[in-house]
Protein backbone atom coordinates (compact mmCIF):
# COMPACT_ATOMS: atom_id res chain seq x y z
CA UNK A 1 0.00 0.00 0.00
CA UNK A 2 2.69 2.58 0.86
CA UNK A 3 4.30 1.62 -2.42
CA UNK A 4 1.21 2.74 -4.37
CA UNK A 5 1.14 6.05 -2.54
CA UNK A 6 4.86 6.56 -3.08
CA UNK A 7 4.38 5.89 -6.77
CA UNK A 8 1.51 8.32 -7.00
CA UNK A 9 3.31 11.21 -5.35
CA UNK A 10 6.56 10.46 -7.18
CA UNK A 11 9.48 12.83 -6.73
CA UNK A 12 7.38 15.78 -5.57
CA UNK A 13 8.47 15.64 -1.89
CA UNK A 14 12.09 15.98 -3.05
CA UNK A 15 11.04 18.96 -5.19
CA UNK A 16 9.47 20.57 -2.16
CA UNK A 17 12.54 19.94 -0.03
CA UNK A 18 14.88 21.47 -2.62
CA UNK A 19 12.57 24.47 -3.08
CA UNK A 20 12.47 24.87 0.69
CA UNK A 21 16.25 24.86 0.93
CA UNK A 22 16.53 27.28 -1.96
CA UNK A 23 14.03 29.67 -0.39
CA UNK A 24 16.02 29.69 2.84
CA UNK A 25 19.20 30.49 0.89
CA UNK A 26 17.48 33.27 -1.05
CA UNK A 27 16.06 34.61 2.21
CA UNK A 28 19.58 34.78 3.63
CA UNK A 29 20.68 36.67 0.53
CA UNK A 30 17.87 39.21 0.98
CA UNK A 31 18.52 39.42 4.72
CA UNK A 32 22.20 40.18 4.16
CA UNK A 33 21.67 42.77 1.43
CA UNK A 34 23.45 45.33 3.66
CA UNK A 35 26.10 43.11 5.23
CA UNK A 36 29.59 44.04 4.05
CA UNK A 37 31.48 41.17 2.47
CA UNK A 38 28.50 38.85 2.22
CA UNK A 39 28.50 36.73 -0.95
CA UNK A 40 25.13 35.85 -2.49
CA UNK A 41 24.58 32.14 -2.97
CA UNK A 42 22.18 29.84 -4.74
CA UNK A 43 21.80 26.19 -5.61
CA UNK A 44 21.48 24.63 -9.03
CA UNK A 45 18.01 23.12 -8.83
CA UNK A 46 18.61 20.43 -11.46
CA UNK A 47 21.82 19.19 -9.79
CA UNK A 48 20.24 19.35 -6.34
CA UNK A 49 17.26 17.33 -7.50
CA UNK A 50 19.47 14.76 -9.19
CA UNK A 51 21.31 14.36 -5.91
CA UNK A 52 18.14 14.19 -3.84
CA UNK A 53 16.51 11.64 -6.11
CA UNK A 54 19.60 9.67 -7.04
CA UNK A 55 21.60 7.37 -4.86
CA UNK A 56 23.09 8.73 -1.67
CA UNK A 57 26.83 8.96 -1.47
CA UNK A 58 27.60 5.92 0.62
CA UNK A 59 30.91 4.67 1.94
CA UNK A 60 32.01 1.44 0.38
CA UNK A 61 32.73 -1.49 2.66
CA UNK A 62 35.47 -3.72 1.31
CA UNK A 63 35.92 -6.03 4.27
CA UNK A 64 33.43 -7.97 6.30
CA UNK A 65 34.28 -6.21 9.54
CA UNK A 66 33.95 -2.69 8.11
CA UNK A 67 31.16 -0.65 9.52
CA UNK A 68 28.67 0.43 6.89
CA UNK A 69 27.67 4.05 7.17
CA UNK A 70 24.09 4.87 7.85
CA UNK A 71 23.74 7.07 4.79
CA UNK A 72 25.57 10.31 4.76
CA UNK A 73 23.36 13.33 5.30
CA UNK A 74 26.14 15.89 4.98
CA UNK A 75 26.22 15.62 1.20
CA UNK A 76 23.56 18.13 0.29
CA UNK A 77 23.10 20.19 -2.83
CA UNK A 78 26.16 22.13 -3.76
CA UNK A 79 25.82 25.78 -2.80
CA UNK A 80 27.32 28.01 -5.46
CA UNK A 81 28.23 31.67 -5.38
CA UNK A 82 26.58 34.17 -7.66
CA UNK A 83 28.62 36.21 -10.10
CA UNK A 84 27.71 39.83 -9.38
CA UNK A 85 26.60 42.03 -12.24
CA UNK A 86 27.75 45.15 -10.42
CA UNK A 87 30.33 44.41 -7.72
CA UNK A 88 30.15 46.81 -4.79
CA UNK A 89 33.01 48.33 -2.84
CA UNK A 90 32.23 46.57 0.44
CA UNK A 91 32.45 43.12 -1.17
CA UNK A 92 28.72 42.42 -0.94
CA UNK A 93 27.38 40.65 -4.04
CA UNK A 94 23.65 40.73 -3.28
CA UNK A 95 21.45 42.23 -5.97
CA UNK A 96 18.22 42.81 -4.02
CA UNK A 97 16.00 42.99 -7.09
CA UNK A 98 17.35 39.76 -8.53
CA UNK A 99 17.08 37.96 -5.23
CA UNK A 100 13.53 39.13 -4.69
CA UNK A 101 12.53 38.02 -8.18
CA UNK A 102 14.12 34.61 -7.61
CA UNK A 103 12.52 34.26 -4.22
CA UNK A 104 9.09 34.98 -5.69
CA UNK A 105 9.71 32.56 -8.55
CA UNK A 106 10.83 29.88 -6.11
CA UNK A 107 7.77 30.47 -3.94
CA UNK A 108 5.46 30.08 -6.92
CA UNK A 109 7.21 26.86 -7.93
CA UNK A 110 6.84 25.57 -4.39
CA UNK A 111 3.19 26.55 -4.41
CA UNK A 112 2.53 24.84 -7.73
CA UNK A 113 4.25 21.64 -6.62
CA UNK A 114 2.08 21.74 -3.51
CA UNK A 115 -1.03 22.12 -5.65
CA UNK A 116 -0.02 19.15 -7.79
CA UNK A 117 0.68 17.11 -4.69
CA UNK A 118 -2.69 18.09 -3.25
CA UNK A 119 -4.33 16.97 -6.48
CA UNK A 120 -2.61 13.60 -6.22
CA UNK A 121 -3.90 13.16 -2.70
CA UNK A 122 -7.40 14.12 -3.78
CA UNK A 123 -7.39 11.54 -6.56
CA UNK A 124 -5.94 8.90 -4.24
CA UNK A 125 -8.76 9.62 -1.81
CA UNK A 126 -11.32 9.30 -4.58
CA UNK A 127 -9.81 5.97 -5.63
CA UNK A 128 -9.82 4.67 -2.05
CA UNK A 129 -13.42 5.67 -1.49
CA UNK A 130 -14.39 4.24 -4.87
CA UNK A 131 -16.50 7.20 -5.82
Amino acid sequence: MPNIIDKAIGIMPEHLSVYGKRSSLLASNIANANTPGYKARDIDFRAALAQAGGEQMALKTTRGNHIADAGSTMSGPEILYRTPLQPSLDGNTVDSQQEKARFTENAIRYQSTLTFLGGKFTSLKLAIKGE
Partner: protein, 137 residues
Protein backbone atom coordinates in the same frame (compact mmCIF):
# COMPACT_ATOMS: atom_id res chain seq x y z
CA UNK B 1 11.99 21.94 7.32
CA UNK B 2 14.06 24.71 5.78
CA UNK B 3 11.15 27.12 5.66
CA UNK B 4 11.34 27.40 9.45
CA UNK B 5 14.85 28.80 9.11
CA UNK B 6 13.51 31.78 7.19
CA UNK B 7 11.74 33.05 10.28
CA UNK B 8 14.98 33.42 12.19
CA UNK B 9 16.92 34.69 9.15
CA UNK B 10 14.44 37.38 8.18
CA UNK B 11 13.74 38.14 11.82
CA UNK B 12 17.40 38.85 12.51
CA UNK B 13 17.60 41.01 9.38
CA UNK B 14 14.52 42.95 10.45
CA UNK B 15 15.91 43.64 13.90
CA UNK B 16 19.26 44.69 12.36
CA UNK B 17 17.54 47.05 9.92
CA UNK B 18 15.37 48.51 12.65
CA UNK B 19 18.52 49.14 14.70
CA UNK B 20 19.96 50.95 11.69
CA UNK B 21 16.77 53.00 11.50
CA UNK B 22 17.14 53.74 15.21
CA UNK B 23 20.72 54.95 14.91
CA UNK B 24 19.72 57.04 11.90
CA UNK B 25 16.93 58.62 13.93
CA UNK B 26 19.37 59.30 16.75
CA UNK B 27 21.87 60.85 14.33
CA UNK B 28 19.25 63.06 12.70
CA UNK B 29 17.85 64.10 16.05
CA UNK B 30 21.29 65.13 17.25
CA UNK B 31 22.42 66.77 14.02
CA UNK B 32 22.40 70.13 15.77
CA UNK B 33 23.56 69.04 19.23
CA UNK B 34 26.37 71.51 19.62
CA UNK B 35 29.06 70.71 22.15
CA UNK B 36 31.82 72.69 23.80
CA UNK B 37 34.59 70.13 23.47
CA UNK B 38 35.61 67.39 21.08
CA UNK B 39 34.93 64.69 23.66
CA UNK B 40 31.45 65.77 24.69
CA UNK B 41 30.04 66.46 21.23
CA UNK B 42 27.73 63.92 19.66
CA UNK B 43 29.29 61.72 16.98
CA UNK B 44 27.34 60.00 14.22
CA UNK B 45 26.68 56.35 15.07
CA UNK B 46 26.67 53.51 12.58
CA UNK B 47 25.80 49.85 13.20
CA UNK B 48 28.19 47.18 11.94
CA UNK B 49 26.49 44.23 10.29
CA UNK B 50 27.93 40.77 9.89
CA UNK B 51 26.56 37.54 8.52
CA UNK B 52 25.68 35.11 11.30
CA UNK B 53 25.58 31.42 10.63
CA UNK B 54 22.03 30.38 11.41
CA UNK B 55 22.24 26.67 10.89
CA UNK B 56 24.65 24.09 9.66
CA UNK B 57 22.17 21.30 9.66
CA UNK B 58 23.60 18.83 7.16
CA UNK B 59 23.40 20.49 3.79
CA UNK B 60 21.53 23.53 4.91
CA UNK B 61 23.76 26.54 5.39
CA UNK B 62 21.95 29.82 5.84
CA UNK B 63 22.91 33.14 7.31
CA UNK B 64 21.06 35.63 9.39
CA UNK B 65 22.29 39.11 10.21
CA UNK B 66 24.22 39.88 13.35
CA UNK B 67 24.83 43.38 14.67
CA UNK B 68 28.46 43.42 15.78
CA UNK B 69 28.04 46.72 17.50
CA UNK B 70 27.47 50.40 16.97
CA UNK B 71 30.54 52.45 16.18
CA UNK B 72 31.06 56.20 16.31
CA UNK B 73 31.97 57.89 13.07
CA UNK B 74 35.61 58.99 12.95
CA UNK B 75 35.00 61.91 10.62
CA UNK B 76 36.48 65.05 12.21
CA UNK B 77 34.02 67.33 13.93
CA UNK B 78 33.28 70.70 12.46
CA UNK B 79 34.36 73.63 14.59
CA UNK B 80 32.76 77.00 14.36
CA UNK B 81 33.92 80.28 15.84
CA UNK B 82 30.96 81.52 17.79
CA UNK B 83 32.15 83.33 20.95
CA UNK B 84 28.65 84.54 21.81
CA UNK B 85 27.31 80.96 21.97
CA UNK B 86 26.67 79.74 25.52
CA UNK B 87 28.43 76.44 24.74
CA UNK B 88 31.55 78.08 23.33
CA UNK B 89 34.91 77.09 24.88
CA UNK B 90 37.59 79.52 26.11
CA UNK B 91 38.78 80.21 22.56
CA UNK B 92 35.24 80.92 21.45
CA UNK B 93 34.73 77.75 19.41
CA UNK B 94 31.75 75.39 19.38
CA UNK B 95 31.84 71.82 18.00
CA UNK B 96 29.21 70.50 15.61
CA UNK B 97 28.35 66.78 15.37
CA UNK B 98 29.79 64.97 12.34
CA UNK B 99 26.29 64.00 11.17
CA UNK B 100 25.77 64.25 7.44
CA UNK B 101 22.03 64.74 7.03
CA UNK B 102 22.03 63.64 3.38
CA UNK B 103 23.87 60.41 4.29
CA UNK B 104 21.40 59.76 7.07
CA UNK B 105 18.39 60.25 4.83
CA UNK B 106 19.84 57.80 2.29
CA UNK B 107 20.55 55.36 5.12
CA UNK B 108 17.02 55.72 6.38
CA UNK B 109 15.46 54.93 3.00
CA UNK B 110 17.82 52.00 2.46
CA UNK B 111 17.02 50.56 5.88
CA UNK B 112 13.27 50.89 5.45
CA UNK B 113 13.36 49.29 1.98
CA UNK B 114 15.46 46.39 3.27
CA UNK B 115 13.06 45.97 6.19
CA UNK B 116 10.14 45.85 3.77
CA UNK B 117 11.80 43.18 1.63
CA UNK B 118 12.37 41.02 4.67
CA UNK B 119 8.76 41.41 5.75
CA UNK B 120 7.67 40.28 2.30
CA UNK B 121 9.96 37.26 2.45
CA UNK B 122 8.55 36.37 5.84
CA UNK B 123 4.98 36.74 4.64
CA UNK B 124 5.55 34.60 1.56
CA UNK B 125 7.20 31.89 3.64
CA UNK B 126 4.34 31.96 6.10
CA UNK B 127 1.83 31.47 3.30
CA UNK B 128 3.87 28.60 1.87
CA UNK B 129 4.03 26.92 5.25
CA UNK B 130 0.31 27.32 5.82
CA UNK B 131 -0.34 25.84 2.38
CA UNK B 132 1.96 22.93 3.20
CA UNK B 133 0.09 22.30 6.44
CA UNK B 134 -3.22 22.27 4.59
CA UNK B 135 -1.88 19.71 2.11
CA UNK B 136 -4.28 16.84 1.46
CA UNK B 137 -7.25 18.43 3.19
Amino acid sequence: MSLFNIFSISGSAMSAESLRLNTTASNLANAQSIGSSEATTYRAKNPVFAAMMQSLQGDNVSFGVEVKGVVDSTTPLETRYQPEHPMANEEGYVFLPNVNVVDEMANMISASRAYQSNVEVLNTSKQLMMATLRLGQ
